[in-house]
Symmetry: C2
Subunit: 401 residues, 2 copies
């Protein structure tokens, strides 16, 4: 148990209230700064992004947009239509432009695909990102495939294939690496799923965290995008907010069969990118930018590895295997995750995600993002200190009892 002073207890309650208001997501850092003015937030370890890639983007943005006075154009003029932006990505992604659907953030693509194509029964592995089941339309059945704690919440591919075969859904969802635990399923294993389950009309694979995963020490970029032409039921969803830390710009894309793109565009999504998102997409597809991004992507992966291995040495917590830029951490018995997160925030200014609301987790969990190496050092020290404090308190309480 963590003890709080009466003033701290007020902050804990306020934090819990804000969390409830944000539904199955976390309150934004803006909201926290506004509503918890007394708390000095130093590190946002709730935000799942590569800070070095953000730096790189800002460098280009400052030089090409701010310093040239192009910012006004980006705000004033209509951005290009969906198809035009899709075309700018085609060569870079090595995907036919007719397979690319541009989204106002990945969340819009999730919504569009689930609303328009998931018509009968959806199988979703849990714990996972909640929008996939929250956006399912009334009348469509949702079947949860509970990932097992004893498997570290990793996907058992053989079991999964037979489960899907027996349920005969029209849509299945795989987030790879998964959120909130970061478990990764190899490309070959997902390809086995695709081979075995051709009757599933939509195999949605969310690769929003794939830039942080790797299968060998060249750290080459993984993705299923190139398989879209082979498997007509494959739908790849990609957020740009995680790789580049540009959540405020709202940029994502989906790779899917041309008929699905046609269906969506015939009925909407015309000007769903803003001027900044269009600039971002055009930059993302440029060779000079891509080369520099690749450097900071690998630098960040290596730092993640180090961060996770040091976290695993911290006594008292269990760190689940992750190939994303975050880890799921199980707290020692007797510590409420909401209290631990509040303590980290109040005493150390570190904002971390409580995982109480994640369906499918049993125990007290937090999700911790990897930030810059300096911030990671600070996070490690603070977590250790916070645990020592909590465990000492725990001991004291036991003695009192």
């Amino acid at each position: 148990m963590i003890n709080f002073t009466p003033a701290e207890r007020q902050i804990v309650l306020q934090l819990e209230r804000l969390k409830r208001q944000a539904g199955s997501h976390s309150p934004s850092i803006f909201t926290l700064r506004q509503k918890l003015a007394d708390v000095d937030i130093k590190v946002d370890a709730c935000f799942l992004s590569n800070p070095y890639a953000t730096e790189l983007f800002i460098e280009y943005f400052n030089r090409e947009i701010l310093e040239t006075g192009r910012m006004r154009d980006l705000m004033e003029c209509y951005p290009s239509q969906n198809r035009v932006i899709a075309e700018t990505l085609a060569d870079f992604l090595r995907v036919d432009r007719r397979r690319i659907f541009i989204g106002n953030g990945a969340i819009e693509i999730i919504q569009a695909v689930i609303h328009n194509f998931a018509r009968r029964k959806v199988i979703i592995n849990i714990p996972t990102f909640s929008s996939y089941y929250e956006y399912v339309k009334p009348g469509v059945e949702v079947v949860f495939n509970l990932l097992k704690k004893e498997d570290h919440y990793e996907l058992d591919v053989d079991e999964y294939i037979s489960m899907v075969k027996s349920h005969q859904p029209d849509t299945i969802v795989l987030i790879n690496p998964n959120n909130p635990n970061g478990a990764y399923t190899k490309v070959s294993a997902i390809q086995r799923i695709l081979e075995e389950l051709p009757f599933v009309e939509q195999v949605i694979v969310d690769e929003s965290f794939i830039h942080f995963a790797y299968e060998d020490e060249s750290y080459g970029l993984m993705s299923l995008s190139h398989l879209a032409s082979r498997y007509p039921n494959l739908v790849v969803v990609k957020s740009m907010s995680k790789d580049f830390g540009v959540a405020g710009i709202r940029a994502g894309y989906g790779i899917m069969s041309p008929d699905r793109v046609e269906t969506l565009l015939a009925n909407g999504y015309l000007w769903n990118s803003n001027g900044l998102a269009e600039y971002f997409f055009r930059l993302y597809a440029r060779e000079d930018f891509a080369r520099r991004y690749e450097e900071v992507r690998i630098k960040y992966i290596l730092e993640n590895l180090q961060f996770i291995s040091r976290l695993k040495q911290v006594e008292g917590i269990k760190v689940y295997p992750s190939m994303a830029n975050f880890v799921l951490i199980e707290l020692p018995a007797g510590i409420r995750s909401a209290d631990f997160v509040a303590k980290l925030l109040i005493t150390y200014g570190i904002y971390v995600r409580v995982c109480d609301d994640k369906i499918g987790l049993e125990g007290q969990f937090i999700r911790l993002a990897s930030r810059s190496s300096i911030e990671n050092d600070y996070i490690l020290q603070s977590i250790s200190a916070c645990l020592d404090f909590s465990l000492v308190k725990e001991l004291e309480n036991e003695q009192v009892d």
Copy 2:
């Protein structure tokens, strides 16, 4: 007939190709600049915005975002959720926050409302903004109410009411002022429609151009928003791109019954605003900004009035009545609108919208936006010169024939 040199003829063909690619909308100014590098575009009179309001927004943006270094936050952090932004507008709009739905541009609200609520039969006045009928889902009937040329494409309210009564649709759409002609229906007349047609489940009133309309010489802002609590079937759609010239930011809102907002938010639209849009909405609701905006709104209305009255004096064209910031112009017999628009662009650098694709217009029409007074002077001179040239050519051709 307008004659072109062979080089000009190439540009005309390219322009028509770009128009076809843009579907029922206009190619963006970006696309034009990119694909027609030889043409020097001086005035975008296709773009329907108040340039003084854009100046005002940029002034605030520069001071509060650029100069304070907050731009990075706007790009990096998740914006607030839909409900949070709705709440910031409630007091300013004098509308219950539960009635406000925030959109990624008005086009997203049109799509959301038409997709989710128009289930059986939609009546749409034409000519109008095409997305209202393009986004209707398969299986839903669309009935066009053809506005009459002899009525200057203005709505005959009594005829409309009896037409709707005989068709018994679940959804009707009114754009006020209408696009592409700017015809305005008074608030009292729309209220009569609402009173007479309570059986229509959705009365969608698109007020995207309402900031330019007025009913007396105080030029007070018109809107039906405050009537939403009285008429549960009223759905008001509002773009911010026209009043403020911030189409690249993508900001719009809808006012509708709380149960409609709940239905939409239960199923998506969580983070559909970007960081810049959130800043814009918060600014829009601020008293200091609203006061200064009101000044430039009225200044622009007065200049529009002058522009339209001078246009009416130009011989050979017919200018239709408008209460928006644009006019529909019918060209003299023998001049193709596509040629006229090309001539204006190639010789004078003025970009104007062809209206060939608007269902419901018979004749050769263009839609011309009002810009700043200096630009309007230039537009007037250029149109006159272009007409003189065309008419002289016409005369020459007749003599040759």
